[in-house]
Symmetry: C2
Subunit: 223 residues, 2 copies
């Protein structure tokens, strides 16, 4: 019974997600759904991304959080439009929540919409919200066993950002092993090593993102 | 509709959890439900706990994971009975999953059962599984904003273990601020600072746990 309920919920969600995606595509907006554990560094990556791309593209952010607007406040400082979605304790964003706020954005002018999901390495991977791609942020402090323990989010994501590499000397995280596990789960995934706090490795991430925004703006299709 | 379904699921879960708790109480077993994000250090804390308490008490562990038995393998090395529950992608343990495996344990002989939940700071806090107490592990690398962002798990937990304090010099984590936030959410919660990798601060955690196991063994009631 519960499985049937879950299938119904996911089926309905996918339908709304497809409608969101169609709307965003019609406006040439590239939408990224950013996932990761609490404290993996999603908001820090977003801040670095805003600083680098806000002159180049028209950007907006949707911030998913259980209760607070702490992350949205951090983004708003960058002068980028940000919409807060509070899930009131819910463990993921869903397509309906995103649909309800899309009308608040000037989609005609927008190039890139980044949706920061609730901090959770499990549930958000099951719910499309209308994005073109998902990306997952994993802090190296979480341990190199995490890709095999939480495979779905890596399978669903087009890019995996290994963050906090500045802390590598103080941990036993094996970058090569983690990268190999991630690629075994999802061949073709882009694996990027960054340190947001030290401003390192961000060029490859920005390039990866720009390629996709440019392709969408020109109405081109990605392979 | 979905809210009603969720209430039905939680109500049914609470009923089974109460039955589990009654069974464990009748055998004098203290049961701890251990929660935290992926990579917060739940299994490391368990390993340190096993090493210190396995001579003193009869212990067993239930390991909740999505797919792998990586954590159970780490516990089994300590010669402590460990039962793996794989949720097949599910984001939390529930009371029924725990009920189904309790029969595999020698409850008559057991003093302490630790249930390591799925790595997730959100959903497991909503599902009692029959425990006496919950404890939450937060890695300081996750950031000191996390208690206010994920309040339920701190509200539900009798102890909060701030782990990886050895990495404090390399982060901007404010121990005093995090402790104050946790106590504001849950007055009376025990806040413990530990470094599992450096074997520091574990005495207070062990004391906290022993007091509860002893009280349960002697059939005493905690205040």
């Amino acid at each position: 019974m519960e499985i049937q309920v879950m299938e119904d919920i996911l089926g309905r969600n996918d339908q709304i997600a497809a409608e969101n995606q169609q709307l965003l595509a019609s406006k040439g907006v590239f939408a990224l759904n950013l996932l990761g554990s609490p404290g993996s560094g999603k908001t820090s990556l977003l801040e670095k991304t805003m600083a680098r791309l806000k002159q180049k593209f028209s950007l907006a952010v949707i911030e998913g959080d259980l209760f607070t607007s702490k992350d949205a406040d951090r983004i708003a400082i960058h002068g980028v439009p940000v919409i807060q979605i509070n899930t009131s304790g819910g463990c993921h964003l869903d397509a309906q929540m995103v649909r309800e706020v899309l009308g608040q954005l000037d989609l005609e002018a927008l190039d890139l919409l980044i949706i920061e999901n609730v901090g959770n390495l499990v549930c958000p991977a099951e719910f499309n919200v209308g994005e073109d791609e998902k990306a997952v942020v994993l802090s190296i402090t979480e341990g190199d066993d995490k890709p095999l323990k939480y495979p779905l989010v890596f399978k669903e994501s087009a890019a995996a950002v290994l963050n906090k590499t500045d802390l590598l000397p103080y941990t036993n995280f094996d970058l090569a092993a983690a990268g190999a596990d991630i690629r075994a789960i999802h061949p073709g995934i882009e694996v990027l090593e960054v340190s947001c706090s030290q401003d390192k490795g961000l060029e490859a991430w920005i390039d990866w993102l720009c390629q996709r925004v440019d392709a969408k703006k020109t109405g081109g299709e990605r392979a």
